[in-house]
Amino acid sequence: MAGEINKGLVLLDYWVSPFGQRCRIALAEKGLSYESSEQELFGAKSELLLRANPVHKKVPVLLHDGRPVAESLVIVQYIDEAFPCTGPALLPADPYARARARFWAAYSDQVFEVGKRVWQLKGEERKQAREEFVRVLKNLDGELGEKPFFGGEAFGFVDLALVPFMPWLPSYERYGEFSVAEVPPRLAAWTRRCGERESVAKSLYPAEKVNEFLAQHKDDYGIE
């Protein structure tokens, strides 16, 4: 494939992991080729994974010439800093813009964290989680505003941090009490816009696939 440069990169990953997808998108945006190593998450974890991430024993982990980097957003920043001359910058150059990017990329984790509570909790607690979930989406929509991407004209750090969670939204509807109609329109448009990028289209799975996955692993995710 054109533009690929092999730099001794291996990504320990799991197909539907949104955290792994963040790294896949980043690597694709940079035009970096890598070996994808699909891991077992349910059942025995591989020796490789346990050695590469002894602290958390989770994917994704990026191996660069054998040296492991774990935590999706740490990995993405590492890719950006280790390959400064390869492909576009994932974070902006200006320190204030970088600070805003870091703040919002970290905040995007809340979609997943609060989303889990929408599934797992019941009654009044579920109602509160649902309200918080809507608030999180509203906050993200507010930050996006009228811009094409969170950083402005160019696709970047916050976009790739958040977009992998979007195919999960219909599942929050199905298993929780969230309605996809509640996704703010600008955020919905942004999701479609991101989906038009090859890096995103190749890395994400459609909502139906996510739903199938969750249906098979209800116990693991605390869904009834």
């Binding site: 602290v55 958390h56 660069h64 040296r67 980097v69 774990a70 935590e71 740490v74 990995i75 920043q77 590492y78 800093e81 280790a82 320190p95 204030y96 970088r98 600070a99 805003r100 870091r102 703040f103 970290a106 905040y107 906050n139």
Partner: protein, 229 residues
Amino acid sequence: MSPPVKLIGFFGSPYAHRAEAALCLKGVPYELMLEDLFNAKSELLLKLNPIHKKVPVLIHGDRAISESLVIAEYVDETFEGPPLLPSDPYDRAMARFWAHFIENKFIKPFFMAHWLEEGEVREAFVKEAKELLPLLEEQLKGKRFFGGDAPGYLDIAASMLAPTRMAVQEVTGVALINDDDYPALSQWAREYISNEALKPCMPDKDQLLAYFMKNKEMYKAGVKAMLQK
């Protein structure tokens, strides 16, 4: 000339301390604005950090930056002074990884182990903290600071294990970090609180102790409430 720097903080907040530590280590003069969090949050705080409504918030001219570790990186990248993060990308990734570990995995069980009443729940957190502490002890590995010879980003991230922890330890009597079990962490904490560059922002030991003594029941009730969530 760079516009003035202000920090919205709170005495006793380990997160606000992180932001002050970053400014001190970088050598950036700043005006400290203290919140009165036991009463109402200020209009300014709510305006500048509408998402989390928390301290610290760094104000640099017309810019407002929230989240202590985001502030630390902003300070590092914006101002001249000794580097807070290492220059090598892999070392930077390691510093960020361990800061994330402290924030997302370590802090909760560690402080739960201090503030909770005796019992099964507390014992579980003590066990968890004891599994995680050796990982941090190993990161110090014969270094004076996590950053090497001088404190840096990871020392800032770990700073609540120095002045805050020492005060909480004394108030609660829980001595998880002690010279016998964790000599490197114990020594690091002493180095941290007596570091020359950090002097301007180091909370006064007696004042901090008095603060936690005074608010002991509130902290204990607070962690109990967190558990029920």
